[in-house]
Symmetry: C2
Subunit: 350 residues, 2 copies
């Protein structure tokens, strides 16, 4: 699969919607890895622009990631209760919670225009997070010559990915930053670590496995390959590259002690995701309890709270995603980082 | 450190009190790994017998593991509430909960006779779980020529291990079966995966690191070495060896779908531990809520419930510890398993 894509290094940059940029993806791809952009939170025009900019900056393959979650059922009463619980936090920054919450972006599965855009623009790779699209979409993308990847967090999801004819699996261990790729977040999550998950999927999946979660350097990539993965996907390792759109406070938190205290929380977006510990992740139990609205409805409230707090100089409510490897993150231009990773990998293999 | 011990393979068998036996430890040590017995749940006579039997069966080094938890403060009211919540479960098997709960075993830290026994019998290695003993005990054991290991689950614990002059660290990732080695289980546990934890401790610990959690085969051992560990510790991989004292139902559960659904629970013993999902681990939320008594007081109730259920043919309340690698466990004599692991490790390195 990597040969087909012409990758020089077995290194994928995680899509990280909101943090990755066309510049980051192109730099990684030009350096011989597989760069990626995440368009799950973009509108159609934004998605088109990001793909076009990436294409302009690299002739090499890159990955476009979309969100394939089940669209949420609005629950006005639950949403009002949530906003009401958040009111004291907004008040702390002289703000009001929004009057109501919106579905801030569509699932790829309900967005035929986005499917048409991908078929028109034909990135080398498209990857799915939070589940799978329908069989027709998969067939249409593959007919357009696009290699397809999907995230799995356990063997059951892997079996569904295999049955759908997807080309490769991103095995997302519990260490990984950002959103868990769970197909169904109402099911109990066995929270498999990268080590156990990668080895299990390599043994049982019958598809190429890309290991993800807690991999920060060439030694980690070598370990992933030893476990039988064809490549490693790194996200947190790239957050502090100058090419990302990570907020300064996100970068600062990444370099701080918070990196030793990431946690999984559904409070920010409505789905479990790993973030650097901050006031937001610690807010439950401070009169801010209950069940957040479904993803991405809760995220509308989370983003509004962050905006209100930030306007008053408080960055403790940012969605500052990061994996458990955060303390080992480096601040390097993406091309340099890929070169260092490749050199470390060679050293680990020797 | 491994050279000093004369190990042939970078393989430690996890101590697994209640599952490991002198026969298992001796078989692993004779095969060139480091076998281990866990005496944390044994009385003094039992500990002496286990060490003597192991010594009789092998001339090679082995590891004796002790529990170094903070001794619990009895809380008669909380314990009564817990027993009362458990009453319906006991009733299901025609039994009564015990009238009161005992501290079923002492911490090594409050047991000078056990320290004296170790100094008298001088196993090559002694390892600590749940924290560290006092400086005097550490000095006395080292003066007796014993190599010391301690479990760490995060960098803070690692710093304390290093400061105490311990010889090596067992980096216990979240994948690992059995009890989390947390020094203080009232603190928030960042639940670091084996991949992230091993790499972090190798980078920052300044001591030899032994990776543990989710490692099931030679490929996994190779990956651990790539991450910079000097060796790997495997527990779940050894549970189904004929030399262990694992109950038949434990072995059966290990081979079942339950292996895909391990979970961390404090319900069984009072401290978080990873077990194969069964009726006990799922009991919370079935009218069996609240805070279990402190470790090991809760374990007295847990063992009584298992005994009552088992007497009526229900094995769903056993403390069937296992790690997330459970689906990859094999059923082989320990010497054969070590030989297979070593052969797989050679193949992975080649």
């Amino acid at each position: 699969m990597l040969d087909k894509l012409g990758l020089i290094h077995p290194i994928l940059q995680a899509p990280m919607a909101g943090v990755s940029t066309p510049q980051l993806a192109a730099a990684v791809s030009n350096a011989g890895g597989l760069g990626a952009i995440g368009i799950g939170a973009s509108d159609l025009a934004g998605a088109r622009r990001m793909i076009a900019e990436t294409k302009q900056a690299t002739d090499r393959p890159f990955n476009v990631n979309v969100f394939t979650h089940a669209s949420p059922t609005p629950d006005p009463e639950g949403e009002r209760a949530w906003l009401s619980a958040m009111r004291p936090l907004f008040a702390e920054f002289g703000a009001e919670p929004p009057a109501e919450l919106r579905v801030i972006y569509q699932s790829f599965n309900d967005n035929p225009a986005l499917l048409a855009l991908l078929i028109e623009m034909r990135p080398a790779v498209v990857s799915f997070h939070f589940g799978l699209p329908g069989a027709d979409a998969i067939a249409a993308l593959q007919d357009a010559g696009i290699t397809l990847l999907a995230t799995a967090t356990n063997l059951d999801e892997t079996r569904r990915i295999k049955a759908a004819g997807i080309d490769g699996i991103v095995a997302q261990g519990i260490e990984a930053g950002g959103h868990r790729g769970l197909f169904d977040d109402t099911q109990t999550d066995p929270q498999l670590g990268t080590f156990a998950l990668t080895r299990l999927l390599v043994a049982r999946a019958g598809l190429p496995v890309i290991a993800a979660g807690g991999i920060m350097d060439g030694a980690g990539i070598a370990a992933a390959l030893d476990l039988g993965a064809v490549a490693a996907q790194l996200g947190t390792a790239f957050i502090d590259c100058p090419e990302t759109s990570a907020e300064p406070a996100h970068r600062q938190a990444l370099r701080s002690a918070a990196g030793h205290h990431t946690c999984l929380t559904s409070v920010i977006s409505g789905r479990p995701a790993r973030a650097l510990a901050n006031r937001f992740t610690q807010a439950t139990g401070r009169g801010f309890a209950g069940q957040p609205p479904a993803y991405p409805i809760a995220y509308d409230a989370g983003k509004a709270l962050h905006a209100a707090a930030k306007a008053r100089g408080e960055t403790g409510f940012g969605a500052y995603w990061a994996g458990q490897g955060a303390p080992l993150a480096r601040s390097l231009p993406a091309a340099d980082l890929v070169a260092v990773l490749a050199q470390e990998l060679r050293a680990a293999k020797a």
